[in-house]
């Protein structure tokens, strides 16, 4: 063999992974041996830095105990995956973690508005955006210890009373209206590639103040103190059937984002996807003595607002009629726009760090919440679609 060995082959030789023929050449080639010597010096240096990765006999947690914890975690994941499923509607998925949505949904029933033992909640009449720092939320919804603690809290508190089921396909607006139980509006100038109807869902939850407070403490926000009145509060939420019409190449609505992370960039898979979703306003029942403004303020402070900013924002929002959509403060912007004869909110998140540009146009008309969302610079198309609804 006359060809000199490549660096890769010389490296394989150092690891005892070179084939016999090449090894034969190496033994007789002074040039290759000299290069290998240089390579070995570098490899030894790297190996010394990475030496702590070398297997040792440190004790691992007993496998049987670990198995018990694994089974428990799997069970909790299963429970919460169904809970999260009801938040699959694009209005609440857009750029927001489930926690904030939950907090804000719970914040809708204002004690100012209704009296009595139970508040028979709200109908969304308007949408507004609030820029927040998602760092704390990512901690709660991530895979770390805090995320698991939050997941456990939710799974222990929530009781699904009506599971949403799998979305079913509808042929046109008329069939979608029949299945969903409300008048579905679709732009006549565009042909949807698919229409899905997702059935209604409902859940109730009982607040465990001690655990929720422990979660805040764990997150380093022990300065935020939940009021005693939240302990044991029974809250029920009903989410009506919703309809999603997809334009272009889009994922199916039941797609679980946590399972799609290995499938490549959504920009490549769904570059022209635009989804028009619509849903009658959800409703929430909560105890009358729940201080919603206080809870909303705590939620806003958790997301990075100062106490003054949170108080100021809370005082400007009618929590009984406003869908508050949190957006990442450092990477998204929003503006009020005239749409479908009412005032809506256009949220845009410019492309960054390899993630595609995203947009969502939200508005409420005649008790129905509408959202047009998608990837890329199609906000103008969204406005045109919205303004052409029959």
């Amino acid at each position: 063999m006359k060809r000199h060995l490549t660096d890769g082959e010389l490296r394989a030789a150092l690891d005892g992974e070179l084939d016999a023929q090449s090894l034969g050449h190496l033994e007789d080639c002074a040039d290759c041996l000299a290069r290998q010597s240089q390579l070995q010096a570098k490899q030894t240096q790297t190996a010394s830095r990475l030496a702590f990765l070398t297997p040792a006999d440190e004790p691992a947690p007993v496998p049987q105990k670990a198995w018990a914890r694994f089974s428990q975690r799997l069970s909790i994941k299963k429970e919460t995956s169904m809970f999260k499923k009801i938040f699959a509607f694009p209005v609440v998925r857009f750029g927001a973690a489930a926690l904030v949505i939950l907090a804000l949904v719970l914040a809708f029933p204002g004690t100012r508005a209704l009296a009595g033992e139970l508040l028979n909640l709200f109908r969304i009449q308007q949408v507004t955006a609030v820029p927040v720092d998602f760092t704390g939320l990512e901690q709660l919804t991530g895979d770390g210890a805090l995320g698991n603690q939050f997941t456990e809290l939710i799974s222990n508190s929530v009781n699904m009373t009506d599971e949403p089921g799998e979305p079913v396909e509808a042929a046109d607006a008329a069939q979608a209206s029949q299945l969903a139980g409300f008048n579905v509006r679709l732009p006549q100038s565009h042909t949807p590639s698919q229409i899905y109807v997702t059935d209604s869902a409902a859940f109730s939850m009982t607040v465990d103040r001690a655990k929720a407070q422990a979660l805040l403490d764990e997150a380093g926000r022990g300065d935020l103190v939940l009021p005693e009145s939240v302990d044991g509060a029974d809250i029920s939420v009903t989410i009506p059937s919703s309809v999603s019409a997809a334009y272009g190449t889009c994922p199916k609505p039941e797609a679980d984002s946590s399972k799609a992370e290995d499938e490549g960039s959504p920009n490549r898979r769904y570059p022209d996807c635009v989804i028009l979703a619509q849903i009658p306003s959800p409703s929430v029942n909560a105890p009358a003595d729940l201080d919603i403004n206080q809870l909303a303020q705590i939620g806003l402070e958790f997301t990075g607002m100062t106490a003054e900013e949170a108080a100021s924002f809370t005082s400007t929002v009618d929590w009984t009629s406003t869908l508050v959509v949190p957006i990442p403060s450092n990477s998204a912007n929003y503006e009020q726009v005239s749409v479908d004869g009412v005032t809506g909110t256009l949220i845009q998140r410019p492309s960054r760090e390899g993630e595609p540009t995203t947009f969502a146009l939200l508005w409420v008309k005649d008790g129905i919440v509408y959202a047009i969302s998608g990837l890329g610079d199609h906000a103008e198309q969204a406005l045109e679609m919205a303004n052409s609804l029959p």
């Binding site: 890769g8 082959e9 702590f52 990765l53 070398t54 694994f70 975690r73 169904m82 770390g144 599971e163």
Partner: protein, 195 residues
């Protein structure tokens, strides 16, 4: 279209994960697989992230993902490589988190002191600092290069690395050379920043 349930704890027929065997837990086949690989996965993560609690948490998450995604029931599949790849990915992702980096800075020295009480504190802290820089350098590299280095320096053979990362065995040598160069470059840059 809809399953009406009174308690969320019940297993859902619409869930895409394999069926649980009633209230007793997951199937015995998966349990056997878990018990076989648990210690290895945990130890690899413990070395990588340097925090036993975090390592256990990530190891459990690795198995949850295996259960949910990998076709582990298919005959002939060996999940060892898959587990290694996912575990190291989770470990690297964890290191990248800025919150956790602060955590590592605090805990690296603590665990080292606990493990080797006879050594001098200054030496231990210096070693801990070096490991922190190594972890950061690995976390900064592209995923495949980091995986290569971690797998190789954890003792995996070229064949095992090739299986885990879906690469040709003959490509491992050249890729290792490039990965080690990249690692040294990043490590030195980080060490310089720290001066």
């Amino acid at each position: 279209m809809k399953n009406l349930k009174t308690d969320v704890v019940e297993a859902s027929s619409t869930d895409s994960t394999p069926a649980l065997t009633g209230g007793a837990g997951v199937s015995s086949a998966f349990e056997a697989l878990f018990l076989e690989h648990w210690s290895q996965v945990y130890r690899a993560l413990c070395r990588l992230v340097g925090d036993p609690a975090e390592a256990e948490d990530l190891a459990l998450e690795t198995f949850v993902r295996l259960y949910q995604r990998y076709p582990w029931r298919e005959a002939g599949t060996n999940p060892g490589g898959w587990l290694h790849r996912v575990a190291t990915n989770l470990g690297l992702h964890s290191i990248r988190g800025w919150k956790r980096r602060e955590h590592y800075e605090l805990t690296a020295g603590k665990y080292a002191l606990e493990e080797t009480p006879e050594a001098r504190p200054a030496e231990i802290l210096a070693q801990a600092e070096e490991r922190r820089l190594v972890r950061l350098a690995l976390a900064q590299m592209n995923e495949r290069q980091s995986q290569l280095l971690i797998l190789r320096h954890s003792g995996s053979s070229y064949r095992e690395i090739a299986e885990a990362l879906d690469l040709a065995p003959a490509s491992i040598g050249p890729l290792l050379v490039r990965a080690e160069r990249e690692f040294e470059k990043r490590y030195r840059a980080l060490a310089k920043e720290d001066l």
